[in-house]
Amino acid sequence: MPQADPLRFLLRALIFLALMLALWWLVLLNPLLAGLRLSAQMTLRFLPGGNSISHVAIGPDRNWTFQVPAPAALVNQARTQQMLGAAAAGSGPIKIRSMKVEGAGKYPILFTVSLPLYWAILLAAPGRRRLLRMASGTAVLAAFSLLSIEVYAVRLVGGYFHLTTEGLPGFLMDFAMYLAVGVVPYLAPVLMALSLDEDLRGLILTGEAAPAAAPAVPRHRMGH
């Protein structure tokens, strides 16, 4: 089985990766980011405290701006007031209804890079009937992207107001961000491909090919 050779698989996967990355970057990225933006905005609106003020925008430089309602308890804190420049203004506490936090555009893009990698692995893997696997895996990876953008938004806004930077919540938030940025985009496609593609899983985890389907045997009608 020539396709079962690991190096041959690697070569095929690298070629497909180049093609899929080009497709993703040139064609699919903007629609994917628009989808992410929309879902992030919906999530912010449906979260406790969220309302129609919540807004997510992508700038021409691809940086993201999260506009979220500012909780009064947070705004009235001395640290927040100091950050807003209340002492310099000298006119009592500053009141704000919402705040805008800008984040680097490279992270939301990173959350979608799992898709071309996943497609490249599946296309390089031996076997057929890829369409269903590709569609279902893409759907799950897209859900991971949504989850990652939520983590990014919470970390960005929380970090800006020093909400999640200390103690166990800080560690957990750092860990979640670490997973979202450095682990999930690259590891999830591999695990997804291995869990959905039985042939590839059989090849890699046992070093052998999965048993092939039995050849079609012509049926003989029972004669009288």
Partner: protein, 193 residues
């Protein structure tokens, strides 16, 4: 009837795991792999491990600068920053860029896989060496690419090299499993009686 192969020339059989049925062994792998993975990734973030990780990254940057200079290039190492003194380009090698993440992935897979400790040791040594050599080439290639084009550097750094690295790790693991699954070598040609 064929002559029986001598056991002295065959591979070392997997130790305790070989007695378990294949399905159970795979189930064990599927349970242990995510556990080892989480432990490994958490371990990289633990405060007392962090100085060791940073020291390793510093060493990697220093060796990269030395090799670039050895081949006639211009490079200097400042802590975890690789710099070209002639044009001012500087590239900071962060924790996630030192190959540790990918090494953790490979280690988790090999340690969770049903094999003897000797086989695991061989896989860990060879696999880790391969990963760090590839990462070393990655850092040097990014150093030159960054001086040529900043946008291409970002693209190659975040999307291309990381994806390639994962594919390489998968292939390394597959090659290790395949090596273990290879049929045992025979002592001589099969002679029919």
């Amino acid at each position: 009837m064929a002559r029986k192969a001598s056991s002295s020339h065959t591979r070392a059989a997997p130790a305790e795991e070989s007695s378990a049925p294949p399905k159970n062994r795979m189930l064990r792998f599927l349970v242990l792999f995510p556990i080892f993975l989480v432990v490994g990734f958490c371990g990289l973030l633990v405060p007392f491990v962090h100085p060791a990780v940073t020291a390793f990254t510093r060493g990697l940057v220093e060796v990269s600068a030395m090799v670039i200079r050895l081949f006639g290039g211009s490079a200097a190492a400042h802590q975890v920053t690789l710099q070209n003194p002639s044009n001012g380009f500087a590239m900071e090698v962060l924790d996630g860029c030192n190959g540790d993440d990918v090494a953790v992935l490979l280690w988790a897979a090999i340690l969770a896989y049903p094999a003897s400790w000797r086989q695991k040791g061989q896989g860990l040594l060879a696999g880790t060496a391969a990963i760090y050599v590839i990462n070393f080439l990655r850092i040097i290639s990014l150093f030159y690419l960054g001086q040529y084009n900043r946008e291409w550097f970002e693209f190659a750094h975040l999307y291309v090299w990381e994806s390639v690295f994962v594919l390489l790790t998968l292939t390394i693991f597959w090659m290790w499993v395949r090596r273990m699954a290879a049929p045992p070598r025979r002592e001589g040609p099969v002679v029919p009686r």
